[in-house]
C-alpha cells in the first residue's frame, strides 16, 4: 500500500512512517518542518498541507491511504495559523482524498476531546459529546477538526475514514503533553486532587495507528493501552516529586517562575481525569499494547535520567 502521512516530521509521525516501511508499505509524507535524514524509502515533501504543492503530491503520487497528523496541538501556540492548519488543513486533505481516489483516511485525534471536569464520567465512549469545548475552550479547534474529519464518513462515503482519539503518549522521546508536564524534577500538582491519567507508550501509539490502517476500520474509535494510573503514582514512578499547590496559587504561578502559561482549562485536566473506553477499537482490531504502564514510565524515566545526566 502507498501511504501518505501528513505531519510526518513529528515524533509520532516518524515512528508511524518507520513502522509502515518495515511492514513493507511505500511511505511518503508532507510536512512544513524538515526531516533531514529520513530512512531510505521514505520520501518527504516539505510543504504546507493547505498549499497547492500539497495537492500536487496527492495528484502525482496517488497514495492509497492517508494518515492525517498535521495538527497543531501545543497549547502555547496560539496564533491564527493554528486554527487555519487544524481546520482548513483538515478540510483540504479530506477533499484531496475524495478528489484523488484515496481509499482510506485516518485522522489522528486526542482523547482530551472529551474534556475533564467534576461531572464527567470515567471511561468515555465514542458516542459522548465533546465536553472539552466547555471545560477547555482552547481545545475547541482540535475538537472541531475531529468532528469535521468524522463528517467525511457521510460526505465522502467511498473513503474509508477512521477517527482515532488517542490517549496521552509517553516514552523515551520525552515529547508530548504529558512528557512536558513531567519535565521535572518537581511537578506542580493541584492540592487535594489526584486524577487518573491514561497514557500509552509512544511506540504502541504508532503501532495502533498502523493497525488502524491495516484493519478495515470505519468510524470513530478511542485508542488506549494499559489501564489508567493516578498522577501521584506516575510522578513517583518517574523518579520525580510532586509539589501540591492550592488552586488559587496554581493559577497565579502559571506563566511565572518558569511554569508555562497555560489556559485555565488546562488546570481541570490536572484536577480531573480524562479516561476513555477503548474496547471498541480493541475488538475491531485485536490490538494489544506491547508496553505496560510500568514499562512505559520506566522508559521515560531512563531517558530523562540519561538526558539530564543524573
Amino acid at each position: 500500500m502507498k501511504v501518505l502521512i501528513t505531519g510526518i516530521a513529528g515524533n509520532i509521525g516518524r515512528m508511524v512512517a518507520a513502522q509502515l516501511l518495515e511492514a513493507g508499505h511505500e511511505v511518503i509524507g508532507i510536512d512544513r518542518r524538515p526531516w533531514y535524514h529520513p530512512p531510505e524509502g521514505i520520501r518527504v515533501f516539505q510543504t504546507d498541507i493547505r498549499k497547492r504543492p500539497a495537492e500536487d503530491v496527492f495528484r502525482t503520487q496517488k497514495p492509497d491511504a492517508m494518515i492525517h497528523m498535521a495538527t497543531v496541538t501545543h497549547l502555547t501556540h496560539r496564533s491564527q495559523d493554528r486554527y487555519r492548519i487544524n481546520l482548513g488543513g483538515t478540510q483540504s486533505v479530506f477533499d484531496h482524498c475524495h478528489t484523488h481516489g484515496v481509499k482510506k483516511a485516518i485522522f489522528v485525534g486526542r482523547h482530551t476531546y472529551y474534556g475533564a471536569g467534576p461531572d464527567s464520567p470515567l471511561y468515555h465512549t465514542e458516542a459522548e459529546p465533546p465536553m472539552a469545548v466547555h471545560t477547555f475552550p482552547e481545545l475547541s479547534d482540535l475538537v472541531a477538526a475531529d468532528l469535521y474529519a468524522g463528517s467525511a464518513l457521510w460526505r465522502y462515503p467511498e473513503v474509508d475514514t477512521a477517527v482515532l482519539r488517542i490517549c496521552y503518549t509517553l516514552g523515551p522521546l520525552r515529547q508530548g503533553t504529558l512528557a512536558s508536564f513531567l519535565r521535572g524534577p518537581r511537578v506542580p500538582t493541584v492540592l487535594g486532587f489526584d486524577p487518573l491519567f491514561q497514557f500509552m507508550h509512544e511506540q504502541d501509539a504508532a503501532a495502533a495507528i498502523c493497525l488502524a490502517l491495516q484493519s478495515d476500520l470505519r468510524g470513530v474509535y478511542n485508542v488506549a493501552g494499559p489501564p489508567p494510573v493516578p498522577l501521584s503514582v506516575i510522578v513517583r514512578e518517574a523518579g520525580l516529586s510532586s509539589v501540591p499547590l492550592p488552586e488559587p496559587l496554581y493559577n497565579f504561578m502559571l506563566g511565572r517562575f518558569g511554569l508555562p502559561k497555560l489556559p485555565k482549562g488546562a488546570i481541570e485536566h490536572i484536577k480531573y481525569p480524562v479516561v476513555i473506553d477503548a474496547s471498541a477499537y480493541r475488538s475491531a482490531t485485536g490490538y494489544e499494547p506491547k508496553y505496560t504502564e510500568d514499562e512505559t514510565i520506566a522508559s521515560f524515566r531512563e531517558a530523562s535520567m540519561s538526558a539530564t545526566g543524573t
Binding site: 467534576p118 464520567p121 492540592l191 487535594g192 493516578p230 492550592p246
Partner: protein, 282 residues
C-alpha cells in the same frame, strides 16, 4: 501512615487484611482500573470501623440478602443531615459479609468539586452519581449503593426522619437495563443520630453545599445512637428500560413499598416491639 492522598489517617491491620480480601482487580500499585486505592480503602474502613463498631450501636439484619458476588443494587431510605447512613451501609457490607464487598455509592455532584474530599471519595470507590458510572460498575459486577431520595432524603427534619420522600426513577431504568437485582434496605436511626431541626440553604450555598443541617446543639455532629439496618430479599424486575414512565413508576412504587415495610419493622425492632427473628424480609 500518610498515603498517596496525603490525608493522614490511621490504618488498622485487621481492616487492611479485609481490604486484601475484596474482589477487586488491583494492580501492582494497589489501584484498580477506576482508581480505587487499597491504601485509601484501608484508611476509609478503619475510620468507618470506629464509628461502626465502637461509636454507634449498629444492628444489621438480613445481610445474607446482599449477593456474595456479582452485580447488585442496594436501594434504601436516606435521612440524618448527611450521609451517615451511607457510611454505615458501606461498613456493613465490608464488616458483616463473609467475604467483604465494597458497596459503591453515588456521590452528590457538589462533593466532586471539593479538594481532598473529591480525591478521597473517588479513591474509595464513591463516584459522582452519573448514570454512566452506574451502568459501567454494574456491568463490571460491582455492588452499587443508591438512595433514590437523593439530597432531599438527607434534608429530612427530625420529625420526618422515618418518612419517605419522592423517589427518583433513574435507578429502576438502570436496574432494568443492566438486569441487576435490587436489594431493598431500611436504615433506622440516622434521624436520631443527627436530629436536624433546620437546614440552612443560603449559608450552604456560600460553602458550595446544598444546605447546612442545624441540630438543637447547633453543630451536626452525630450522637452515639442505635441503628437498625434491614436488608430485604432481592427484587428482580421484569421489563425493559425503555418502558413508559407509568410502567417505571409502578416498579419504583414496588421498591418504595418494600422499603416502607422494612422501615416500619426496623422502627418496631428499635422500639423493642418486634424481635429481630420475626422480621419479614419479603
Amino acid at each position: 501512615m500518610i498515603g498517596l492522598s496525603g490525608i493522614p489517617l490511621p490504618t488498622s491491620g485487621e481492616v487492611a487484611a479485609r481490604v486484601e480480601a475484596l474482589d477487586l482487580p488491583f494492580n501492582r500499585h494497589g489501584v484498580d482500573p477506576y482508581g480505587v486505592d487499597k491504601a485509601e480503602l484501608a484508611k476509609f474502613f478503619t475510620m468507618l470501623g470506629f464509628f461502626y463498631q465502637k461509636y454507634f450501636d449498629v444492628r444489621v439484619h438480613g445481610i445474607e440478602h446482599v449477593p456474595a458476588s456479582g452485580r447488585g443494587m442496594l436501594v434504601g431510605n436516606h435521612s440524618g443531615g448527611y450521609a451517615v447512613d451511607a457510611g454505615m451501609v458501606i461498613a456493613s457490607a465490608f464488616f458483616e459479609m463473609e467475604r467483604p464487598r465494597l458497596a459503591q455509592g453515588m456521590v452528590e455532584f457538589f462533593m466532586s468539586k471539593m479538594p481532598f474530599l473529591s480525591m478521597f471519595t473517588s479513591k474509595v470507590g464513591q463516584f459522582t452519581g452519573l448514570p454512566e458510572h452506574c451502568i459501567r460498575l454494574l456491568d463490571d459486577e460491582r455492588l452499587l449503593l443508591v438512595f433514590p431520595e437523593g439530597a432531599r432524603g438527607t434534608a429530612k427534619l427530625y420529625k420526618d426522619r422515618d418518612s419517605l420522600v419522592g423517589f427518583g426513577t433513574g435507578f429502576v431504568r438502570l436496574a432494568l437495563q443492566t438486569r441487576t437485582p435490587i436489594i431493598p434496605f431500611a436504615f433506622v436511626g440516622a434521624g436520631e443520630a443527627i436530629p436536624t431541626v433546620a437546614n440552612l440553604y443560603k449559608l450552604g450555598k456560600l460553602f458550595g453545599v446544598p444546605y447546612i443541617p442545624v441540630t438543637p446543639y447547633l453543630v451536626a455532629l452525630p450522637l452515639p445512637v442505635q441503628f437498625q439496618v434491614i436488608f430485604g430479599e432481592p427484587i428482580v424486575l421484569e421489563g425493559s428500560e425503555s418502558d413508559t414512565d407509568d410502567v417505571i413508576a409502578g416498579h419504583v412504587e414496588r421498591v418504595k413499598s418494600r422499603i416502607a415495610k422494612l422501615l416500619a419493622q426496623g422502627r418496631a425492632v428499635r422500639q423493642g416491639k418486634l424481635r429481630p427473628q420475626e422480621i419479614d424480609y419479603t
